[in-house]
């Protein structure tokens, strides 16, 4: 089974190429695959009829007990045969119908993809797997309806179908998840009806599942997408929107009937919605003049009846469901294909312009005749047996059944009249006013309809065959208990027969007096107003209006409002959290603070205040630098030498960068007084909430002993005394790798924002010229580079490391670049800074990958002892960090100065 699905996927992927290679025969070749699947399924019919099932299981998400679990039983066999059998004829038909189309290959691909989804859906025995295939049918249907995407109505129909079935799919997902949770299993065949129905959540499950099924099977009020889907090319309408996809909803109802069915709520909902849909579909059908739309609405009517039959849950009802399903699939696919052929031959699908086609298209006519008789429910066709059983099943329900039977007689009489329009009006009688002279269509176009219509006839005439092999087992799979099945054409004078006779005579009357009927129906203006598509447009317009309103409320393009909202939310959330915890502040210790700490903190605050207030550019740069310096001192005082050194280097480079950019800009004009107070209030609130959050979180000792673990294991396992550095390059090296990648990317992006590097970096004038500096600089640069290497080397045991070393080296080279022009650093290093950065990343990755040697993990450290000196991959990684940070920072500065030279 899985192989069949995979083959379909492969075929879908190869179809475009195959169609390009063999434009004439690709359809026939591709049709062989569904045909093969059909034959394979046929070969299993015997064993399945004996009550066996075929199962296949591949583990998928083991942790959640979700598996690719396929199961072939009577119901899935029946659907599988319909899908693959009709599918192969459709592929063949499409080859003829879309012969000239440029994108036929793509069409085949979509069609096969849909077949895959549908087969997967009926075979799935896992709720999640089933949902995946369910959604895939929606997607494939969207692609197929919108196949002629240059037509706006096709796009609209595709979107409508996707929104409705996709929305239903969401409800279904919720329902299936609840169902799986309640039943404690994802396996459909082991759902326990008593357990599910006894649970408090059962009504919710039922409603959600029903929403999904109703939207897919076009039940009221979701029926409107189906007729619009007729914008798709005819093979799609014939396959998806009559024979298979719309049956997916009904299939799921049938599949879940043993576990969800039986309750009064389930039955009443299915019967009520089904009956209403059936009657509405039939009424709408008879009003159409386009044969394709007419057929589409009769499909809606049939889907309603199928839903209703599952709801009846009587032995006759369930048998009628299976029979009607098969009969309808056969005749409706045949009729759709034949209407496509008529369209092809005459250039119109409007029945008022048709008539007397029999003499031009006898083969198509034969197919239409056979299918229409089955559609009308005349004996001895399969449709007749289905109708008999339908009435018997409904009458079993007693008083309600009688009422529904009346509605059904009306519905079926209308369907009878519709069938008459398709065959009698189009093929018999005087010739119509065709747009072009009709001719018999080619073999692929009439073969499919004829075979299917003949199938409907043969299955009805020799009805013991389907009974034994197909219907029986399928019915057992739907019903909760065993059901005795025996099909017959003649069951004696039963109430069902009476109902049948009534249907046929009423149908005849409707057909003959259709003018009067249409006139009467035309009076119900208000009814068509709201049952039609208009509501949908109005709904969509509302949705778009709400979406635009929501979006414009938040995406207003004002940075300050965005930030203010964000800050307000953060403050409020922190405030709520602190209040909830009961304001446990850390003990007050401000009076114990040392003088240096007080000075450092004041320095950083004063600096920040200056950066917030001062207008001059240079004073701004100085103020920001001062603030950073104060913080650096604070870090030193709090026993964090590595952090402090990094901060120091970053602040120096940052100040230089800031000065380089700001010196070309005007003063920062002071703000108007306008909104100063709310802004100050918000800023104060924000600062307060963050400070309080810190005090609250420091009130209790640190939970866990992570710090102790790092301290205890750094030397023993990481061979380094500088615990911070060991964490960076060994314990949490993967983090560090991600971080240097971020640094590299940010610097690259910043540099490219500054403009392209000139192909040749001019030696040009230095940015700051001073002969003393020019001469005195070189030794200083060498000193800094040497120091940076020393910092890198000793970083494992003493303050230092790749980050600090890289920044120090960058600082040295930035000096050089500023004094001697952008090309100078490159001359010194004999490498482009960007290349240096790349080498750094490569070295870091190499160090990480070396861990894989000898079956180790990514980033696992390997050590080499040179006497007492341990050398290991973490040190190599630190070198990578050094080179990356060095190269990235230098790259930015070089680009900036190069651009200034060019300007």
């Amino acid at each position: 089974m899985l192989q069949a699905l995979l083959l379909l996927l492969l075929a879908a992927l190869l179809a475009p190429a195959l169609t390009r290679l063999l434009p004439r025969h690709a359809g026939a070749c591709l049709a062989l695959l569904p045909l093969g699947i059909f034959l394979w399924l046929l070969s299993h019919m015997g064993s399945i009829a004996d009550g066996q099932v075929l199962e296949q299981r591949v583990s998928w998400i083991a942790a959640l007990q979700i598996a690719v679990h396929l199961r072939l039983d009577g119901l899935s066999l029946l659907f599988g045969l319909l899908i693959s059998g009709i599918g192969s004829l459709i592929v063949l038909y499409a080859a003829g119908y879309l012969e000239q189309h440029r994108q036929l290959g793509r069409f085949y691909a979509y069609l096969l993809l849909f077949m895959l989804a549908m087969l997967g859906l009926v075979l799935a025995d896992d709720l999640i797997l089933l949902f995946v295939f369910w959604e895939l049918t929606s997607v494939a249907s969207f692609l197929l309806i919108g196949f002629q995407h240059d037509k706006p109505e096709a796009r609209r129909a595709a979107l409508q179908a996707l929104l409705i079935t996709g929305g239903g799919g969401l409800a279904l997902l919720a329902g299936l998840l609840l169902l799986g949770g309640v039943a404690q299993t994802w396996q459909i065949s082991s759902l326990d009806a008593a357990q599910v129905q006894g649970h408090a959540l059962f009504p919710a499950i039922m409603l959600l599942v029903l929403l999904g099924c109703f939207s897919k099977s076009a039940q009221l009020p979701f029926h409107l997408w189906l007729p619009n889907a007729m914008n798709a090319p005819t093979p799609v309408s014939a396959f998806l929107h009559s024979a298979t996809m719309v049956k997916a909803g009904v299939f799921l109802l049938a599949r879940l009937n043993p576990s969800l069915g039986g309750s009064l709520g389930w039955s009443s909902l299915l019967i009520a919605f089904g009956a209403a849909t059936a009657l509405l579909g039939a009424l709408l059908a008879i009003r159409q003049t386009d044969l394709k739309r007419l057929l589409a609405y009769t499909t809606v009517a049939v889907l309603g009846q199928l839903t209703m039959l599952i709801g009846s849950n009587t032995p006759y009802g369930l048998q009628a469901f299976v029979l009607y399903l098969v009969a309808h699939s056969l005749y409706k696919a045949a009729l759709f294909m034949a209407v496509g052929a008529i369209d092809h031959a005459t250039g119109t699908r409007e029945y008022p312009r048709l008539g007397g086609l029999w003499r031009f298209m006898p083969l198509t006519g034969c197919a239409v005749a056979l299918a229409a008789f089955s559609n009308a429910g005349l004996p001895p066709f399969f449709g007749f047996i289905a109708k008999e059983f339908k009435y018997s099943g409904l009458l079993e329900l007693g008083l309600v059944g009688g009422l529904i039977t009346t509605v059904m007689i009306l519905t079926n009489a209308l369907l009878f009249a519709a069938a008459g329009l398709v065959f009698v009006k189009s093929f018999l009688g005087p010739p119509g006013a065709y747009p072009r002279q009709p001719h018999e269509v080619s073999l692929p176009l009439w073969l499919g309809p004829l075979l299917l219509a003949l199938g409907g006839f043969l299955l009805g005439a020799w009805n013991s065959w389907p009974e034994t092999w197909l219907v029986n087992t399928a019915v057992q799979n739907i019903a909760s208990g065993p059901v005795d099945v025996s099909l017959y054409l003649w069951g004696g004078f039963t109430p069902a027969l009476l109902a049948s006779l009534l249907t046929i005579s009423l149908g005849l009357a409707f057909y003959l007096r259709r003018d009067l009927l249409l006139k009467l129906l035309g009076r119900l203006q208000w009814f068509w107003q709201f049952s039609g598509d208009l509501l949908w447009d109005r709904l969509l317009k509302r949705v778009f209006a709400v979406a635009a309103l929501t979006a414009s409320a938040f995406q207003h393009g004002s940075l300050r409002q965005h930030l203010a909202l964000l800050a307000l939310c953060i403050s409020l959330l922190l405030g709520i959290g602190i209040t909830w915890l009961g304001w446990p502040l850390a003990p007050f210790d401000l009076h114990q603070a040392s003088l240096p700490a007080l000075l450092a903190a004041s320095l950083s605050l004063l600096g920040a205040l200056g950066a917030a207030w001062l207008p001059g550019r240079l004073s701004l740069v100085a103020a920001l630098g001062l603030s950073g310096l104060g913080l650096t001192l604070l870090f030193f005082l709090m026993q964090a030498p590595d952090v402090a050194m990094t901060m120091l280097m970053v602040e120096s480079l940052g100040v230089v960068l800031l000065a380089l950019i700001y010196r070309r800009m005007p003063r920062v004009a002071p703000q108007g007084r306008g909104l100063a107070w709310p802004r100050a209030l918000l800023a104060g609130l924000f600062g307060l909430s963050i400070g309080l959050a810190l005090l609250v979180s420091s009130a209790a000792p640190l939970p866990g002993d992570l710090a102790q673990w790092y301290l205890a294991n750094s030397y023993g396992q990481g061979h380094g005394a500088n615990v911070v550095n060991v964490i960076l390059v060994d314990f949490r090296a993967f983090d560090t790798l991600g971080e240097i990648v971020v640094v590299a990317l940010a610097m690259l992006a910043a540099a490219s924002l500054l403009g392209r590097t000139p192909a040749k970096l001019g030696t040009g004038d230095p940015v700051f010229a001073s002969s003393l500096l020019l001469e005195g600089l070189k030794p200083l640069v060498w000193l800094l580079l040497g120091a940076s290497l020393l910092l890198l080397w000793r970083g494992h045991n003493l303050p230092g490391g790749g980050f600090i070393g890289g920044l120090t080296a960058a600082a040295g080279c930035v000096l050089l670049v500023l004094m001697h022009g952008p090309a100078s650093a490159e001359r010194l290093l004999r490498l482009r800074p960007r290349t240096l950065m790349g080498i750094g990343l490569a070295v870091a990755l190499l160090a990480a990958s070396l861990g894989l040697l000898g079956g180790g993990a990514f980033f696992q450290a390997h050590w080499l002892w040179l006497g007492e000196l341990p050398l290991g991959t973490p040190l190599l990684f630190d070198l990578g960090v050094y080179l990356c940070v060095f190269g990235a920072s230098l790259h930015l500065f070089q680009r900036l100065t190069a651009e200034e030279h060019a300007a």
Partner: protein
């Protein structure tokens, strides 16, 4: 020490946000740096203060009252990334000034963003551009 740190964090965060809410982009970029510093200090302090020794274990000897090394490692990389972000913001500032001249923050998006194609016929809401 924690109260002093918390006061510093609160002050820096308030000033940082104040600058971020400025109309002038040049001040906003500085605000990014100041707010970043505030948060770095807060993360550092959340690992608990009061250490008397730095996190060094020469020859495997863990000193008493050693500093918590993990927040230090986190803050160290955060500082470097903050620098890269600051550089990027500065480059962005320079670029937007070169292309569009001095602009108030609220009007930057008006010149840089194209309206959605479907809305092009609609009234131009951001007509200041």
């Amino acid at each position: 020490m924690i109260w002093l740190t918390a006061l510093t964090v609160a002050g820096l965060a308030a000033l940082g946000l104040w600058m971020l809410l400025d109309r002038n982009l040049k001040r906003v970029v500085l605000g990014i740096a100041v707010l970043g510093n505030a948060i770095n200090l807060a993360v550092f302090a959340a690992g608990r203060l009061g250490a008397e020794q730095a996190a060094f274990t020469p020859a495997g000897q863990v000193p008493l009252a050693a500093a918590n090394p993990l927040p230090q490692a986190l803050v160290l990389t955060a500082i470097v990334i903050g620098f890269a972000l600051f550089a990027f913001a500065l480059a962005l500032l320079k670029r937007s000034r070169d292309l569009h001249g001095d602009r108030e923050t609220d009007h930057v998006s008006a010149v840089t963003e194209e309206p959605a194609p479907d809305l092009r016929q609609g009234p131009d809401r951001e007509g200041q551009a």
